[in-house]
């Protein structure tokens, strides 16, 4: 820096500093609805800056440079197209997929360091291994999560002694890692064994976890990928990677805790208990499910003072958010006060319902979260439940035997009438019966959310 010429290395470092600053500002702005879009754009500028400066000054041979550009174009191009095309309802699994790719990339960096044999001190080697381990687990685990949410893997595979098998894989991975550090020049097969075992652990850990817990798991893997990126940042002396990776690691950990808390489950519970399989023994549910015709339900809604809508995953699957908002607009024209009540874990990710309702154009001052709305159910004439189940199950409050006892719920059972739109008589995601459906004031409107909402629109119009 003395004199006029700045070394290229300093220039690269300064661009990383600016990028890290933009990432943090971006994340900060993303935490408020009004500034959120500008937030992701600031972070995007940081990413482009860091990438271009790195590309310009990394001093690759022409051949390596063409490999870099080719891989960026193919990987980025595929992600661009898939990201633009994916339906809003499928967002959670796309986040899982892209997150897994990041973990895989961190693992690949570790693999390059190890196979390349360029590694240096024991400390560097250890950090590269830890990052590679976390990245590999996040990669294969995220791919399984993607497969489950996408419906490619429909069963939660569980067998006796599964935890012992997982523990054995973990011990094997650590042993391979220790052997790599101990030996002067680790043979390639040993390195391969390390990565294969780590990848297997991610698969084995994720396979037994049920669909209802996937949001927590994806969030956890997001945090893990961040950590892996941070560790590989240490290996490569790359401050941008250390800062961005660690920020995401910490933020992701907190986010995971918030999600687990909203479901009243601890993280270890999510990872190590086989929820929903044996937990169905919650006692039998009193009362029978009483069906209702859409015409009657429409009249009921049209002549209400106040309607609270509780959307759930069923609305998301049926892509019914637009129809539901159309129905609500119609009710508002009739002078009905309409509110949306969103449980923290409605859908498959916290905030998933908000994204869908926002897509349909619902103003967010009509949307309330659990704490705001729970006192209002008593004054509601009708609570309209659209494809939600466990989040309105009063057993969580009343039945100590229920596996979801203690989970905060929306108090839909306190309202004068409840209409439940549901595909059939089956159980919810967690596989437990819902006491709400048997209550005296509850009526069931069977059908998928899209067509049921359509029928209700006709019925409300017919009602005057």
């Amino acid at each position: 820096m003395n004199g006029a010429v700045m070394s290229t290395q300093t220039l690269v470092q300064l661009s990383y500093l600016v990028a890290a600053f933009l990432f943090i500002v971006g994340l900060k702005r993303m935490s408020s609805p009004l500034t959120a879009v500008s937030g992701v754009r600031w972070a995007g500028i940081g990413m482009v800056l860091a990438t271009l400066v790195t590309l310009a000054f990394m001093g690759a041979s022409t051949f390596n440079l063409s490999l870099v550009i080719g891989a960026v174009v193919i990987g980025g191009g595929l992600a661009w197209v898939s990201g633009k095309r994916v339906a809003m309802t499928d967002m959670p699994q796309m986040i899982a997929l892209y997150n897994g790719m990041g973990g895989g990339a961190a693992a690949a960096i570790a693999a390059v360091e190890l196979y390349g044999g360029g590694s240096q001190s024991t400390a560097h080697l250890c950090i590269a291994l830890i990052g590679g381990f976390i990245g590999s687990v996040s990669f294969s685990g995220s791919l399984i999560a993607f497969g489950k949410l996408q419906g490619l893997i429909t069963k939660s595979i569980r067998f006796g002694g599964q935890k012992i098998v997982n523990l054995a894989i973990l011990v094997g991975t650590v042993a391979a890692g220790v052997a790599i550090v101990a030996g002067a020049h680790a043979p390639a097969p040993l390195i391969s064994a390390f990565f294969i075992l780590a990848l297997m652990l991610g698969v084995a850990m994720t396979l037994p976890i049920g669909g209802a817990d996937m949001p927590v798991v994806i969030s956890l893997y997001n945090a893990l990928t961040g950590l892996a990126v941070g560790f590989e940042g240490f290996v490569l002396d790359n401050a941008a990677m250390i800062i961005a990776g660690t920020v995401v690691g910490a933020a992701g950990t907190l986010l995971t805790q918030l999600m687990a808390k909203a479901m009243n489950r601890s993280l270890s519970n999510v990872l190590f208990s086989n929820f929903g399989e044996s937990g169905a023994a919650g006692g039998t549910v009193a009362g029978t499910q009483k069906p209702i015709e859409s015409s009657d339900a429409g009249v009921m809604l049209a002549y209400s003072q106040k309607v609270i809508v509780v959307p759930g995953y069923g609305m998301a699957v049926a892509q019914a958010q637009h129809k539901v908002w159309e129905l609500c607009q119609l009710l508002i024209e009739h002078g009905v006060q309409v509110r949306f009540a969103i449980h923290p874990v409605a859908g498959r990710m916290p905030g998933h319902m908000n994204v869908l309702l926002a897509e349909a154009g619902v103003p967010y001052d009509l949307i309330s979260d659990l704490d705001e709305i729970n006192a209002e159910f008593e004054t509601a004439d009708v609570t309209l439940i659209i494809g939600a189940n466990d989040v309105v199950n009063p057993d969580a409050r009343n039945n100590r035997q229920s596996p979801i006892f203690g989970m905060p719920i929306l108090n839909a059972d306190k309202s004068k009438n409840v209409i439940v739109i549901k595909r059939g008589q089956g159980q919810g995601f967690s596989g437990i019966d819902n006491a709400l459906f048997g209550l005296d004031q509850t009526r069931m409107l069977y059908g998928d959310a899209q067509s049921a909402a359509g029928q209700l629109i006709q019925a409300v119009k017919a009602a005057g």
Binding site: L27, S31, P33, L34, A36, V40, M47, T51, T54, A60, N64, L65, L67, V68, G70, A71, V72, G75, G76, A79, S82, V86, M91, M94, I95, Y98, M101, G102, A105, A106, A108, I109, V112, Y115, N222, G226, E232, L236, D237, A239, A240, I242, A244, G245, T246, V247, V248, A251, L254, L255, I332, I342, M349, P350, N354, P363, Y364, D365, I367, D369
Partner: protein, 100 residues
């Protein structure tokens, strides 16, 4: 080369920053924010690029190329889905109050 202890300071401060930035977020933004933080760790792309740039054997070139491919997917895909999601909040914000 970043000195070991300095690196630990960076690590510690960054961890606090991440925790603080998220701690006051409304629930409605949890999914977009998870997606946004997913985009931010796409910075792994610069590391993957550097790793591939210095590759000198076929094996390392193959692994490095896979790494860059995956990292580019993380960065680009993460950005696209985050922006799409957040765009909707802008649209919904403009409709503010219309429903009443």
């Amino acid at each position: 080369m970043i000195d070991g202890v300095i690196a630990l300071y960076i690590f510690m401060l960054a961890a606090f920053t991440g925790y603080e930035v998220i701690s006051r977020v409304p629930v409605i933004l949890h999914t977009p924010l998870m997606s946004g933080s997913n985009f931010v760790h796409g910075i792994v792309l610069v590391g993957a690029m550097v790793a591939l740039a210095t590759a000198d054997t076929t094996l390392v070139r193959v692994i490095g190329s896979i790494g860059v491919f995956l990292a580019a997917g993380n960065a680009v895909g993460g950005y696209v889905v985050t922006e799409r999601m957040l765009q909707m909040f802008v649209a919904a914000g403009k409709n503010r109050g219309k429903g009443r």
